[in-house]
Subunit: 467 residues, 2 copies
């Protein structure tokens, strides 16, 4: 271990020693049975609130013949309350713009509005009330504190700041614990690396693939991030921060002593960091007294996955006044285990974090991406032909997305390596700008692919079959 490496951990240890271990000890170390009781009470309240005030839930529950008073046990909850899907949210927003009938916060009470892109290109918008924002900030701080971030830490953000809530939520938590926010956002990789050397931040927050990419770029320009000032990486927005293969790759670039903290659940269920690692590397903690997580049989959402076995994720916000989500079927793949962590927290954990989506939406570099959104962006680049393929491969533990694109006839006439490289570059830049996606692009010979005329399936998924 080099001197620089031990320096960063030593500084960290000094900071940790100067502060209590927990943000809210009573809450974080609460005995399981006690917490379960609390969760049930909150679920009952949240359901009653939604049923009384939000037409979306009233209609849904009436259609399924469920009344709030029917939910007397956790089993009732799982077996009787129907799930909510993303499509249902989209339909509700189309019918009752802009926020859908599952949200009724008065305009004066809305603190922030975020959103996510959808299949149709129409984003789903989320309104967060002022009191929800304040409460969520406290919960985010609890998660950030569990990662070992303390006053005096400088958190360099490489997450872009836009409609996607991920980086903003982490920022709110970092600010609340009293650490320093350095919000660089979307910038050139070289610029980020220069800033790491100039400012010497101690924590860096971004998607796992971008964090890996930064290490690659650093190596290529002769900068060794293994001996940088950064002791902790907060990674989220896509799987990777908990899966051993990808964590090993991250350690390869950032040093064997780097602390990797995985974070994030789903944009619909704010606060978004309620699945977050502590600094012990024992998997992702589920702060289930804030956003409750069930893992279920993907084909029968009324049936729970046994403890320790894989299932599909279903989330329930326990405190939201604006946009409560009750049994939101995110359909990530994960398994829950119980037992106190070495950090002392009694929350259940996801030992592998979230290891992939179950539906046809692609989860790539920090955002939900729909093939149709890629197509939408691609189609705007002059020179792009009719056919292309989206190739997804497992690289280490991360999913990597690559585009193979045929040029159009006009472009085909140019037939020079430069022209092809330039077309590829235009596509790369368009995708980055339009949908915030960094991908590899290869321009292939015209006629490489079979023409698809109806219900095209242009996604080639080469990931292992266990998915």
């Amino acid at each position: 271990m080099t001197a620089a490496v031990s320096d960063r951990l030593e500084h960290r240890a000094q900071r940790l020693a100067a502060h209590p271990r927990f943000w809210d000890e009573t809450r974080e170390t609460q005995p399981l049975e006690e917490r379960k009781k609390l969760i049930l009470e909150r679920i009952q309240k949240q359901i009653a609130y939604a049923y009384e005030g939000l037409p979306f839930y009233r209609k849904l529950y009436d259609r399924h013949g469920v009344k709030p008073s029917d939910i007397r046990t956790m089993e009732d909850f799982t077996q009787r309350v129907p799930v909510v899907t993303k499509q249902m949210l989209r339909d509700a927003q189309a019918e009752y713009p802009p926020f859908g009938s599952y949200s009724n916060t008065p305009p004066e009470q809305i603190a922030r509005i975020y959103g996510s892109s959808g299949t149709t290109g129409v984003p789903t918008l989320y309104a967060i009330s002022k009191s929800d924002w304040a409460r969520a900030t406290e919960a985010q701080a609890m998660a950030i504190w569990a990662m070992g971030v303390r006053p005096g830490d400088v958190v360099h953000f490489v997450f872009p700041f836009g409609m996607f809530i991920g980086g903003w939520a982490i920022m709110a938590g970092v600010e609340r614990v009293g650490a320093t926010v350095f919000p660089v956002g979307a910038a050139d990789s070289k610029r980020h690396i220069d800033l790491i050397q100039q400012l010497r931040p101690t924590v860096l927050a971004g998607t796992p693939s971008y964090v890996l990419h930064l290490a690659d770029v650093a190596r290529s320009i002769g900068v060794n991030l293994r001996s940088s000032s950064v002791h902790t990486l907060i990674v989220g927005g896509e799987p990777g921060g908990t899966v051993p293969g990808s964590v090993a790759a991250i350690r390869g670039g950032w040093g064997d002593d780097i602390i990797v903290c995985d974070t994030g659940n789903t944009s619909e269920c704010f606060p978004t960091q309620m699945n977050s690692s502590c600094d012990q590397g024992q998997g992702v903690h589920v702060f289930e007294d804030e956003v409750y997580l069930e893992t279920v049989d993907p084909d029968d959402t009324r049936c729970r996955a046994p403890d320790g076995e894989f299932g599909a994720t279903v989330y329930t916000t326990l405190w939201r006044e604006s946009q409560p989500m009750i049994r939101f079927f995110a359909a990530d793949r994960a398994r829950l285990v119980h037992g106190t962590c070495t950090c002392g927290r009694t929350y259940p954990r996801l030992p592998e974090g979230m290891i992939g989506r179950l539906d046809d939406m692609l989860l790539v570099r920090g955002a939900n991406v729909y093939p149709s959104a890629i197509e939408g962006a691609l189609r705007q680049v002059p020179g792009v032909g009719a056919e292309y393929r989206i190739v997804i491969e497992r690289k280490g533990a991360l999913d990597e997305l690559r585009l193979q694109v045929e040029p159009d006839a006009e472009w085909t006439k140019l037939q020079t390596a430069d022209a092809h490289a330039l077309l590829a570059q235009s596509i790369v830049e368009r995708l980055r700008r339009e949908i915030g996606l960094r991908v590899g692009v290869e321009v292939v010979a015209p006629g490489t692919f079979e023409k698809m005329l109806f219900k095209a399936r242009r996604v080639i998924d080469r990931r292992p079959a266990e998915r």
Copy 2:
């Protein structure tokens, strides 16, 4: 006037009627003489604080033979206290990284770090303490309130969120007054226009040139922003929001009834909105009891410009504990007038706002841009030849920047219109990504320009000579 237009103003009027007119009435309507006394006291305190705690100021004042106790009147202040230039800040940061010897805030007390790009590519970094951030937020709220933004207003941000503090500062003020933040940030223009229609925000914040650009794009796709939900535009980061020509152009795109509020002083002197319009269109108010503004003879900074005549701007922060700026020579061109505004505020005003920089740095679309930064980005694009020109023209009241670029030899062989268009597009996208600059790019025939080998001056300034 169409029904939609009167709708937006009517909604606005209802909101205004429900709240007091001032954020801090006593402060905002304070008699001039009383405020002057207060300002002098604060200046004296700020100078004493800097002289005692910050080596940068102690050395500077010792070298000029000034002691804090020498400053007994405002005349003493202007005549005896030397100005601070951007170059002095840069040098101090190079000598005492990362924040320079004009900043000594303990790491645990730093809330945020921002920065601006410099000639050398090394950004100047600004650390803002927690108490400064809190106090500044209150001052920003005062400015945002004066614009007529109230709870229930939805503020759509088209300012990018990165190291540049502009959009963040406005955001803090908007949040503090209790309006809703919709932080879209950097996105495709079409996406912004779609969101305006989907969400119906009431306020939009961005640079004046981007706001104009949005109106152009909207027109080209058949969307009429003149009858949109937006009643107020908060524009800043470059001149334009107060100059009649550009305001008229903005009204052309956004409707005759649109309220245009200009804002911003200089990144170095946070809070950054202390030169801000109210909603009366009487010019920019200078909230001089927070950041004090002198206008001086650009060739003799000890000599004030007479009231109502043009001079170069010199700023002094009155409350900062982190990075106090005392007589920071921003060298913008502006003229100060006194007299109570129709809004009732007694602050002095800049009737034309800030109408241009005095040094060779370019102020374009919300950021300080140095020709060397443009060159740096340009040089990375494959296909770009040795020579290019940066052409600056006055378009209405806005400065517009355009690049003319020769292709390199390899590229010249391609010789197709497509190839040239593609090269231009690559350059546009590189500049946007690298230095956040949107410019028009024209690929010209090789040999168009004289080769420049030493101390090249590639900036062609076609702005009127009165600059």
